[in-house]
């Protein structure tokens, strides 16, 4: 097996400078005549060829990374095996990692929210591709010039459709101590809500400058988070809004069932703070008292597993964000009843789904913002009230349903933009009957069906 060095040429790749020397791998700046520009080569540091954890972690990455696509993962160019030198070559991502940014924490709330949304977007994309990362941390997010965040280092990851090489190999918990979820300590590798816990720990650090449990430095110290709650964020930084504390503490719940059930639902709350349902978590200003912690310790000390999901695939199918576009005009009354039935049916098979109800307030022309004048403001509120009335029939608890009135001269475009921004999994909407106007102007539902990136169900009065 060869070892990497500056100037080494392997499979056509010429190694330049060593950019990073970590405990498990080195990263090299490299080039290839067939691939214009800079590339990055990651080479595991394998001692004597028999360094099991490093080897397996590297194999996991070789298995998963080439199968991922999109802006939130690095594009894999080539792989090398043990016959010459093990490596992974990926595209060069210019923006650097979040490590430096985290050193500047606590950051202003607007920056925290922007970063939290971008990190969550990347995780939504990984989960959509059936991958749980299991080692999210500041150094494992890179920034693209476009602003998108890229998740890197899939050495501990698990792909729902691929063998899990790590499952049988090790008996010790794996992860990065400050950010590890309780179930990771219990060696569970089957729950995408583990990444949601870790996101919560990262948001906590960005907002307060402290890690929720500090850096325990040992596995024993990690165990404490099974019963010890972190200091509420607002105790450290009173200017943080309650809804933000609600979001972060919900991510950091010990029981995965009490957290957000999907990264998409977390993203929705980050982008729609007005819709976050506040609970006791939001108001908390002190860590729990000794008695409460003692009780939790007694309950948790013998626990071997936390409630596990039926499966990652099932998790993704069952906790989607559904968006219902409701037409509130009087002639759509019959249609709206059917729409309600359709949504109820979907909720019956997807019990963790979250519903976003949307109505488009059509403005006369582009450039005229009706909400700026009093009459427009009034109309907006009226619509919101009517939309809430329609949604009340679903009898969902507060946090699972939200209402938005969008203002636009192009209803279809507004619906599609809202769906994209909130990573909606499924749009449900009605189609009006045939009419002359519709023939001339085109139908909203047809445009949504053809242009939306999510699934669309169109309900029609027979």
């Amino acid at each position: 097996m060869q070892r990497p060095s500056q100037g080494l040429v392997i499979d056509g790749f010429t190694l330049a400078e060593c950019l990073h020397k970590g405990g498990f791998a080195t990263i090299w700046d490299c080039t290839h005549p067939d691939h214009p520009g800079r590339l990055a080569m990651k080479v595991p540091t394998i001692l004597d060829g028999f360094d099991a954890p490093t080897i397996v972690g590297f194999e996991v990455e070789q298995m998963i990374a080439p199968r991922l696509t999109g802006p939130h993962v690095p594009k894999v160019i080539a792989l090398g095996d043990f016959s010459s030198m093990p490596y992974i070559v990926t595209e060069w991502i210019g923006g650097g990692s979040l490590l430096e940014v985290f050193k500047g924490a606590p950051l202003p709330l607007s920056d925290v929210l922007e970063m939290a949304s971008r990190m969550t977007e990347a995780v939504v994309d990984l989960h959509r591709q059936h991958v749980i990362h299991f080692d999210l941390k500041p150094a494992n997010f890179l920034r693209r010039d476009s602003g998108a965040y890229v998740a890197i280092d899939f050495g501990l990851a698990r792909h729902d459709h691929l063998p899990d090489l790590l499952a049988e190999e090790f008996t010790i918990p794996m992860g990065t101590f400050p950010y590890m979820a309780p179930e990771q300590y219990l060696r569970q590798r089957d729950d995408l809500r583990t990444d949601i816990f870790t996101l919560g720990a990262l948001f906590y650090e960005l907002a307060t400058g402290r890690q929720p449990w500090g850096d325990p430095g040992s596995l024993r110290g990690v165990r404490k988070r099974l019963w010890r709650d972190p200091l509420p964020l607002r105790a450290l930084r009173p200017d943080l809004p309650e809804w933000f504390q609600e979001i972060v503490l919900r991510c950091l719940e010990v029981d995965p069932k009490a957290r957000y059930q999907s990264a998409g639902q977390l993203l929705f709350d980050l982008q729609n703070p007005g819709q976050v349902r506040l609970t006791a978590r939001a108001a908390k200003l002190r860590a729990d008292g000794r008695l409460a912690v003692f009780r939790r310790w007694r309950a948790m000390r013998g626990v071997k597993r936390l409630s596990a999901p039926a499966g990652v695939g099932a998790q993704m199918d069952e906790a989607p964000v559904l968006m219902v576009a409701v037409d509130l005009s009087p002639e759509a009354e019959g249609l709206n009843r059917l729409l309600l039935t359709a949504v109820r049916r979907m909720l019956a098979v997807q019990p963790d789904a979250r519903v976003s109800c949307v109505n488009v307030l059509k403005t006369a022309r582009i450039g005229i913002d009706s909400a700026t004048d009093e009459a427009g403001d009034h109309l907006h509120v009226m619509r919101l009230v009517a939309l809430r009335e329609w949604g009340a029939e679903l009898a969902l608890e507060e946090g699972r349903i939200s209402f938005s009135v969008l203002e636009s001269s192009d209803p279809a475009a507004a619906i599609i933009a809202h769906a994209n921004r909130n990573r909606v999994d499924h749009i449900i909407m009605g189609a009006r009957g045939h009419s002359a106007t519709r023939r001339y102007l085109g139908s909203v539902s047809a445009q949504v069906v053809s242009e939306a990136s999510s699934s669309v169900t169109v309900v029609r009065v027979p």
Binding site: E59, Q62, L79, D81, L162
Partner: protein, 246 residues
């Protein structure tokens, strides 16, 4: 190169037809049969003819223990298998028997080894049921990919660079990457008598271009095969087995 691997047909015509029809839709370059064309099932002669035709068209076929037992009655077989074999033998023509008797025990092609039961002492028909039983196969050859049948339960194991053999979870119907950093042993599921609780014909496709193996399952007319088994007076336990796939 995309290779379809079929094994343990066991005289089940309906299952073999379903697998071949499925295969026809999946861009396969060649077929390899890992043996046990006959035994248990009601259509041994038809299945031998069909496999011979595949071989004429370029398929590679290796010998299974039931194929071997046609000429060499085996004391190792359980009572059900022996009764089915006694029923099978007279149905086969001379040419078919000669064909089965003349099959090779294994076939090596580049970095892939095809064998019915195990790479180590293949004539002993060892069941590769766990990682310790796989050690021998990895030890006796240097093939990077070893493909076996015989067990009727699909399975995937790998041997890492430091010599440890581990069982790997796989998802049927999805391509499983056979990482080049490891050696792999796959037990391909049976076409004609599945035993993993799924009453569907099993086979696999190896893509040597992408280093991926897909375990596939195909539904077939189980009721028809079961009716034939009963009409032939074969042991009822065989009919039950096909119905439950176990």
């Amino acid at each position: 190169m995309r290779t379809a691997i079929i094994t343990d047909i066991h005289g089940n015509r309906e299952a073999l037809e379903a697998v071949l029809a499925d295969m026809a839709q999946r861009a396969v370059d060649r077929v390899v049969c890992l043996g046990d064309i006959v035994g248990y099932g009601p259509d041994p002669a038809w299945c031998v003819d069909r496999v011979m035709a595949l071989a004429q068209a370029g398929a590679v076929v290796v010998k299974g223990n039931h194929d071997d037992a046609v000429a060499n009655p085996s004391a190792e077989m359980n009572i059900t298998a022996r009764r089915a074999m006694e029923w099978t033998r007279p149905l086969l023509a001379e040419g078919q028997r000669a064909y089965l008797a003349g099959l090779p025990m294994q076939h090596r092609d580049g970095e892939v080894l095809f064998v019915h039961a195990s790479a180590n002492s293949p004539q002993d028909w060892i069941y590769v049921t766990d990682t310790s039983r796989a050690l021998g196969s990895f030890a006796v050859c240097d093939a990077r990919v070893i493909l076996v049948g015989h067990r009727h339960v699909p399975d995937l194991m790998s041997r890492s660079i430091d010599g440890r053999v581990t069982q790997q979870r796989f998802v049927a119907g999805r391509p499983m990457p056979l990482l080049r950093t490891r050696r792999w042993l796959a037990v391909v599921g049976a076409v004609g008598q599945p035993r993993d609780g799924v009453a569907k014909a099993g086979y696999a496709i190896l893509d040597e271009g992408t280093d991926e193996l897909s375990f596939l399952r195909v539904g077939y007319d189980v009721a028809k095969t079961v009716a034939k088994l009963r009409a032939a007076g074969l042991p009822e336990s065989l009919a039950v087995r096909l119905t439950w796939g176990a």
